[in-house]
C-alpha cells in the first residue's frame, strides 16, 4: 500500500528530520458556552515517537477526546477554541496551518478512530465501497484499483473472506467486525499517527485483544505512532510506552508506564490503581476514590483533586501544584508527590 507522495514535507513545509513524530506542548482548549467557560484542556504536553504508544488515561469528562480533537484540528468552533500551546508534527506547527492544509494532514498523515465508531459507518453503502472511497477521494485512485486496495486492507485487519464480505452492509457485521472496518479506513492512507479514542471499550475482551494485537503488529511494520485514549487501565498497561493521566483537563501525572503503575506519584493515579479488581488474584474490598470530579465550569482554586484527596493539606487549597520531576522522565502535579510515591516504595 506504499504511496508515492513525498512525506518529507507537511503542507509544503519541510519536516525537521530530528524532530519527534508529534510534540504537544502546553495545549489549552476551552468551550465558551452560555453558562460560562469550560476549560476542557488546561496545559497538556506529551511527545510521541515513531512506533511508540502514548496512552491518555482519565475518567469521563477529563478532556481526553477534546485534546485529541485539537491535535486533529476538528474542535467544534465556536463554542470550542484552542487558546494556547503548540502541536508540532515532525517539527511543523499544525496550529499555524490554514484549515485547507490541516484537512490535508488529516486522514492522510494523522488519522483517528472515533469513540462512537460503531455508529460512524454509513448504513446505506457496502463496507468495501466505504473503504475504497478513501483511496478515490484522497489519492484519486481509479474505482477498480481502489476496490482491490480496500479488499487488501480488509484482509490486513483480519476480516475473514474479505472479498465476499466487501459487498456487505454495516448492519451485517458484528460490533468487532465494524470496528475493524473503521480501523481499516483509518489505516487506508498509511498515516504516520493513529489516534484511537476508546477503540475497544464497547467490545468483548476477546475482540479487544484481537484488535490491540493488530494495532501493535501494524506499528511494528510501519513505525506508526499511536495515541491511545481510554479509561481502561488494563489495556494501557498492555500497550503503552508513555502514560499521561488527566484529571479535570490537566495532566496530573506523566511518565513511562512502568513507574507510573508501580510507583504512582499522584494521589489520583494511586486511587485509580487501588479501585481496580484483578482477575489474577482475589481482592477483598475495593478502594474507590470518594466523591466525583469537579464541575469544569467551576474548578475550585488550588489543586483540582483536593476535595477527593486523602493527602490534601491547607496549601492544596491555596496553590495549584506545579509539575514536579519525580525522575527525569516522570512528573507529578502534586505538592506532596514524594509522600505519595513512598506508598508503593519497594513494590
Amino acid at each position: 500500500m506504499a504511496t508515492t507522495l513525498s512525506r518529507d514535507a507537511v503542507a509544503g513545509r519541510p519536516v525537521d528530520p530530528a524532530a519527534p513524530l508529534l510534540v504537544v506542548e502546553d495545549l489549552h482548549v476551552e468551550f465558551r458556552i452560555e453558562a460560562g467557560t469550560v476549560r476542557a484542556v488546561n496545559g497538556l504536553s506529551y511527545t510521541l515517537r515513531r512506533g511508540e504508544t502514548v496512552a491518555i488515561l482519565g475518567e469521563s469528562g477529563s478532556g481526553k477526546s477534546v485534546s485529541a480533537q485539537a491535535v486533529m484540528g476538528i474542535i467544534d468552533s465556536p463554542p470550542g477554541f484552542v487558546t494556547g500551546g503548540s502541536v508540532r508534527f515532525r517539527g511543523v506547527e499544525l496550529l499555524d496551518l490554514s484549515e485547507a492544509d490541516r484537512r490535508r494532514v488529516r486522514g492522510d498523515r494523522i488519522a483517528m478512530i472515533f469513540q462512537d465508531a460503531l455508529t460512524a459507518l454509513n448504513p446505506v453503502f457496502p463496507v468495501g465501497w466505504q473503504i475504497a472511497e478513501m483511496f478515490r477521494m484522497h489519492r484519486g485512485v481509479p474505482r477498480k484499483e481502489a476496490r482491490e486496495k480496500a479488499i487488501e486492507l480488509m484482509e490486513r485487519v483480519k476480516i475473514p473472506s474479505a472479498r465476499t464480505r466487501a459487498g456487505s452492509y454495516p448492519h451485517e457485521f458484528s460490533g468487532g467486525m465494524r470496528q475493524r472496518v473503521m480501523i481499516a479506513m483509518a489505516l487506508s492512507l498509511d498515516p504516520e499517527i493513529l489516534i484511537a479514542d476508546e477503540p475497544t471499550t464497547a467490545l468483548d475482551v476477546t475482540v479487544q485483544a484481537q484488535i490491540m494485537a493488530l494495532l501493535a503488529e501494524l506499528q511494528q511494520q510501519t513505525g506508526m505512532g499511536l495515541i491511545l485514549i481510554t479509561h481502561d487501565l488494563g489495556v494501557v498497561a498492555e500497550v503503552a510506552d508513555q502514560v499521561v493521566v488527566m484529571y479535570a483537563g490537566r495532566e496530573v501525572e506523566k511518565g513511562p508506564s512502568l513507574p507510573v503503575y508501580h510507583r504512582p506519584a499522584h494521589p489520583y493515579t494511586l486511587g485509580l490503581m487501588d479501585s481496580l479488581p484483578r482477575r489474577d488474584v482475589h481482592t477483598e474490598r475495593l478502594r474507590p476514590i470518594k466523591g466525583s470530579p469537579p464541575d469544569l465550569l467551576a474548578i475550585p482554586p488550588g489543586c483540582p483533586f483536593r476535595p477527593r484527596c486523602p493527602y490534601a493539606r491547607d496549601i492544596c487549597a491555596a496553590e495549584e501544584p506545579p509539575l514536579a520531576a519525580v525522575t527525569s522522565e516522570h512528573v507529578s502535579a502534586c505538592h506532596f508527590w514524594e509522600e505519595v510515591s513512598r506508598e508503593r516504595a519497594g513494590a
Partner: protein
C-alpha cells in the same frame, strides 16, 4: 476480612433454581406473510441454583444469552421449555397476581444508568414508582421518610430528593437505580451489567455498595457481566456461558485458577492485567473470529470452530456439563484436569 474459598453451603436455602431452561427466538422473513426461516438458540438448556445471600456471576461474550436468561426467568420472555423455581414455586405457572408479587421480590438493575431512569421524573418519584404497583409494601404516610432512608442507604444526599437524573453523575444515577430496586424490598436482585458503563473509580463505589447491601439485607444477586475482574471480586460462584450454554461453573478458585474449559481459558487470557510488568508473562490466546451466530446449528461442541483442542469427537458428540475429575462441572470432552503433567 472474611476467609477465602467461599463455600456455597455456607449460604442459606436455594432461592432460585433454574432447570433446563431453553429460549429460542424464531427468525422470520417477510413483512406481510411472515415465515420462519430459522431459530436463534439464545438460551439452550441452562441450569443453576442461587442460594440466599449468595452472588452468582453469569459471564460470557456479547450475545451468549445472559440477558435472555434473566428475562426468561422473569417471564419477560416466554420460555421455550424448562423450569424456574422461586423458593420452591414454579415461576412459569404463577397466576398474573402471583407474578406481580414475584416481580417485586426479584428486582433488576440495568446496564445503562442514563437510559434506565425517566428524565422527567424526580429522584424521589423514580425511587417510589414501584409502590404504585405494589402499594402494600409501604404505607403512604411512610413513603417520603423511606425514600430519605433509601437515598442515605445508597450514599446519596436525601436533600436531593427533588432533583432530576441529569443533575447526577453516572455513578450517582446507578445508585438511584439501586435505591429504586431496593424500595420494593426484594429477595433477589438481578444485576445486568450494572457497572460496565462506569469509570473504574465509580465502578468500585457501586460494587462496594452492592456488597454492603447484601451483607445488611441478605440479598441474593444474579450478577451478569462481561468484566471478568469485577465478577471474580463480587461473585461466590461463576457460570461461564458460550452460545446459550454453560461451559464451566464453579467457585472463584475453580473457574479462575483451575480453569478447565478452553473457552474460559481464552476468555481469561484476553483480560488485560493492569500491570505493565506482566505484559509478556501471560500467554494470550487470541480466539479467531467472533462468536458464531446462535442461529447456525452446530453439531457437537459449539465452541469447536474456535477451539484449539478440538478433535473428531467434538464434531459428533455434544460434551455434557459434568465433573470429569477437575472438581467442578465443565462442558468439554477434554476438560483440563488439575495438575495433569501430560498437558
Amino acid at each position: 476480612m472474611s476467609a477465602p474459598a467461599p463455600d456455597p453451603i455456607r449460604h442459606g436455602e436455594v432461592v432460585l433454581r433454574v432447570e433446563h431452561l431453553v429460549k429460542y427466538f424464531p427468525i422470520t422473513r417477510g413483512i406481510v406473510f411472515k415465515r420462519q426461516i430459522g431459530t436463534v438458540k439464545a438460551v439452550d438448556d441452562v441450569s443453576f441454583e442461587l442460594h440466599e445471600g449468595e452472588t452468582l456471576g453469569l459471564v460470557g461474550e456479547s450475545g451468549c444469552g445472559k440477558t435472555t436468561t434473566a428475562r426468561t426467568i422473569l417471564r419477560l420472555e416466554k420460555a421455550t421449555s424448562g423450569h424456574a423455581w422461586y423458593r420452591g414455586r414454579d415461576i412459569f405457572t404463577l397466576s398474573g397476581k402471583e407474578m406481580r408479587e414475584l416481580r417485586r421480590e426479584i428486582q433488576v438493575i440495568f446496564q445503562d444508568p442514563y437510559a434506565s431512569l425517566n428524565p422527567r421524573m424526580t429522584v424521589g418519584d423514580i425511587i417510589g414508582e414501584g409502590w404504585r404497583v405494589h402499594p402494600g409494601v409501604m404505607p403512604k404516610n411512610r413513603r417520603r421518610a423511606r425514600i430519605h432512608e433509601l437515598l442515605e442507604l445508597v450514599g446519596l444526599n436525601p436533600d436531593h430528593i427533588n432533583r432530576y437524573p441529569h443533575q447526577f453523575s453516572g455513578g450517582q444515577r446507578q445508585r438511584i437505580g439501586v435505591a429504586r430496586a431496593l424500595a420494593l424490598e426484594p429477595k433477589i436482585v438481578i444485576c445486568d451489567e450494572p457497572v460496565s458503563a462506569l469509570d473504574v473509580s465509580v465502578q468500585a463505589q457501586v460494587v462496594n455498595l452492592l456488597e454492603d447491601l447484601q451483607d445488611e439485607l441478605g440479598l441474593s444477586y444474579l450478577f451478569i457481566a462481561h468484566d471478568l475482574s469485577v465478577v471474580r471480586h463480587i461473585c461466590d460462584r461463576i457460570a461461564v456461558m458460550y452460545l446459550g450454554k454453560i461451559a464451566e461453573t464453579g467457585d472463584e478458585y475453580q473457574v479462575y485458577d483451575n480453569t478447565a474449559h478452553p473457552y474460559t481459558t481464552a476468555l481469561l487470557s484476553a483480560v488485560p492485567i493492569p500491570d505493565p510488568a506482566a505484559r509478556h508473562l501471560g500467554r494470550r490466546i487470541l480466539l479467531e473470529g467472533d462468536v458464531p451466530s446462535p442461529a447456525d446449528p452446530l453439531s457437537g461442541c459449539r465452541f469447536r470452530t474456535r477451539c484449539w483442542k478440538a478433535q473428531g469427537v467434538c464434531a459428533q458428540t455434544e460434551p455434557e456439563l459434568i465433573d470429569r475429575g477437575q472438581g467442578h462441572p465443565v462442558a468439554c470432552h477434554f476438560a483440563q484436569v488439575e495438575f495433569d503433567p501430560a498437558r
